[in-house]
Amino acid sequence: MNSSQLLGITTFAYLLSAILYIAIFVFRAKKLGLFATLITAFAFLINTAGIGLRWYESHQMGIGYAPLSNMYESLVFFAWSIAIVYLFMEIRYKNRVLGAFSMPFAALAMILAGLKNPDIKPLIPALQSNWLIAHVITCFIGYAAFAVASGMGVMYLVKDRRTDKTAGPLIASLPDLKAIDDIIHKTILFGFLWLSAGIISGAVWANSAWGTYWSWDPKETWSLITWFIYAATLHARFTRGWGGRRIAWLAIGGFVSVMFTYYGVNYLLSGLHSYGGR
């Protein structure tokens, strides 16, 4: 068994988990609940084992590095982060419908990872830093929270669009708008803290490798743009009382910016970070 096989299993398990949660939501198949949670927990464990095994394999090859340094590895870690953020929310809010709007992101991340080359390649000197590990972990926990927040934003809009008409039982099974709004807000706060930590750890790393903590390269700039968007969202809510649909849309818009920072920049723009991308 090697790590790519484990991560292949992970892909299917997340996919199954996403399908189960969607089934719970669409068919109100409450009986599937425990099964869905178990599958998710299983997928998460296999995902963890896959990352661990890949780490071990890199040591076996004499390269030895934390598997967080190319697009494949970061997507795998992204899926891992989404799963842990979601599992935490499921335990906290005791509501499995949230899974229908969260776990598809984890499945999607793993499917995208599946399109990448999983070969373990040696690290160029610039990437040999413990700050890289701190940077990737903090960024991706933030990204995962924003992914879930955008899922909750979609959920809010779905629920809100239908309540004025005769709300079917499907829509009624969603948490009420106020609760969703609160979840969106809390998830964004959580994500914002980690994104800030991610940008900061990246700056510290850049400074220890190149002597400049900030050089306005496209990836850095886009992470700052994303940060500005969420900062504006927080202020709109906190001091101008925005909520509901507007924040739901901002959660979705913010995540588009996250995805552009993460994915788009590597393919559409050039800069220091592009070596991490392909």
């Binding site: 040696p122 000197p125 040999q128 800030s196 220890s208 490798a209 002597g211 001091t239 101008r240």
Partner: protein, 452 residues
């Protein structure tokens, strides 16, 4: 005129302006990610045409993050932040330090979380009982007297109201650090071939020479590769600092990427290298231990005076477009028997045996090390700001100022006391409601208190 009535003041204190500047900063920042930055003027003329390039020049698009208008936006943003803080901080500070035992009883009756009890007995005795219940729930309580009764008060994390201001302050501290760096620091580059030294570096962009005040020598540079032969594994320079100004003895340090040399506030980062034409050769006669060092070009026959040895590099194999030599072909003769002709790896040592002697032959290509040189006295200010920001965000997001009061009034007519348990939080009401419910539960369970 009070400052809060002044139109200009109100403009700069408004959160609307903050939203506006955040979104303008976000949108304009995109420009610099689409249009390549810091290229020479011809680049823009060739890529965008004469007229557009002229327009770009007007707006400093080629270096937009240092342009007058972007700096103005950042300035506006900072003024906004400062004015907003001066405007609000006094009130918030008041909330942090205020004596809540002064709270008017009428206000207590309107608190968002509230539960009323009745109990028989002396007010002071009931206050002591209530204090015990509060303490049991983690509420450290103080007591005060009102004209009409006794008031107990307890609070948690009053200071957490300052978290937001720590975040805002941290942004200003980071800006201050960036300004210190740009005023008193520099960024420069330097290329030193092995064996050479330099006491001057050249500023990035302008090429202006900057004297270091000491001499830096590159004693050695090495690049090592992974087994695949192409991916560089490590760039390592051995640097020697020779400081003539003081009495410091020269010292050496090995630097690699991510582990620079720091001396007198100037930091030297391993950033690149350049293979040069030429090789360093060390030959050791294993029997006599005679050693000699040569620096030689390729294709030249070299004679070692004191011995009978002749040698030369007759061919090379190059690893990369840069001209890194991976293998060398050596011709070697000590006059005994046939000359040895062999391939060896760059940077390796080969043992050569002739009928009467043996030699260690070591060869490595001469490199120049490429260093990035930075002096940034603002870095620690920036880092302090970053740390403050993370702490501030945590406090602002996850801690809340929670307050509870217990107000005990003697109702002579009914021969009992009326007890109001009430509380408020500045955020995260859901969590507070749970905490408050637990407290009320404690009162309800105590047989002394009866729900009103």
């Amino acid at each position: 005129m009070k400052k809060s009535d002044n139109m200009v003041w109100r403009f700069f204190a408004s959160v609307r302006l903050a939203l506006f500047s955040l979104l303008i900063l976000a949108t304009t920042s995109i420009i610099g990610t689409l249009i390549p930055q810091k290229n020479p003027p011809e680049f823009y003329i060739n890529s965008f045409g004469q007229r557009t390039a002229q327009f770009f020049q007007l707006l400093d698009v080629s270096d937009m993050y240092n342009s007058w208008w972007f700096i103005t936006l950042l300035l506006l943003f900072s003024v906004n932040l400062i004015v907003c803080t001066i405007d609000r901080l006094p009130n918030v500070w008041q909330m942090v330090v205020m004596n809540n035992l002064d709270t008017e009883p009428e206000r207590l009756e309107k608190m968002p979380s509230r539960q009323v009890f009745h109990a028989h007995g002396d007010a002071q005795a009931l206050a002591e009982l209530a204090t015990a219940l509060l303490t049991k729930n983690g509420w450290k309580t103080r007591q005060g007297n009102k004209p009409s009764g006794l008031l107990l008060f307890s609070q948690k994390n009053a200071w957490s109201r300052l978290g937001v201001y720590a975040v805002h302050l941290s942004i200003l501290i980071i800006f201050a650090g960036a300004i210190i760096g740009s005023l008193f620091g520099f960024k420069a580059g330097l290329m030193i071939p092995e064996g050479r030294s330099s006491d001057t570096v050249y500023e990035t962009g302008t090429g202006k020479p900057i004297p270091l005040g000491f001499t830096l020598q590159c004693e050695d540079f090495n690049v090592s590769f992974y087994a695949d032969g192409n991916t560089p594994k490590e760039f390592r320079s051995t640097l020697k600092v020779i400081d003539g100004s003081g009495k410091e003895t020269p010292f050496t340090k090995n630097i690699i990427v991510n582990d620079p040399l720091n001396y007198k506030g100037i930091t030297f980062y391993q950033s690149s290298y350049e293979p040069m034409q030429g090789f360093n050769i060390n030959i050791t006669n294993k029997a006599t231990n005679a050693k000699k060092f040569f620096q030689i070009p390729i294709g030249q026959k070299i004679h070692w005076e004191e011995t009978n040895i002749d040698f030369g590099i007759i061919n090379q194999e190059v690893r990369s477009r840069m001209g890194d030599v991976s293998k060398l072909k050596i011709w070697f003769s000590d006059g005994q028997g046939e000359p040895s002709i062999f391939w060896m790896e760059n940077n390796a040592t080969q043992t050569i045996s002739s009928p009467t002697a043996a030699y260690d032959f070591q060869a490595s290509q001469v490199y120049a090390t490429g260093l990035q040189v930075a002096k940034d006295p603002g870095v620690w200010t920036v880092y302090a700001g970053c740390t403050l920001m993370l702490i501030g965000l945590y406090v602002a997001f996850f801690l809340s100022h929670r307050r509870v009061w217990v107000y005990i009034v003697r109702e002579e007519a009914a021969d009992r006391c009326r007890i109001v348990v009430c509380g408020a939080t500045n955020k995260n009401k859901i969590a507070f409601d749970k905490e408050f419910a637990a407290l009320v539960e404690c009162f309800t369970h105590d047989s002394t208190f009866h729900n009103a």
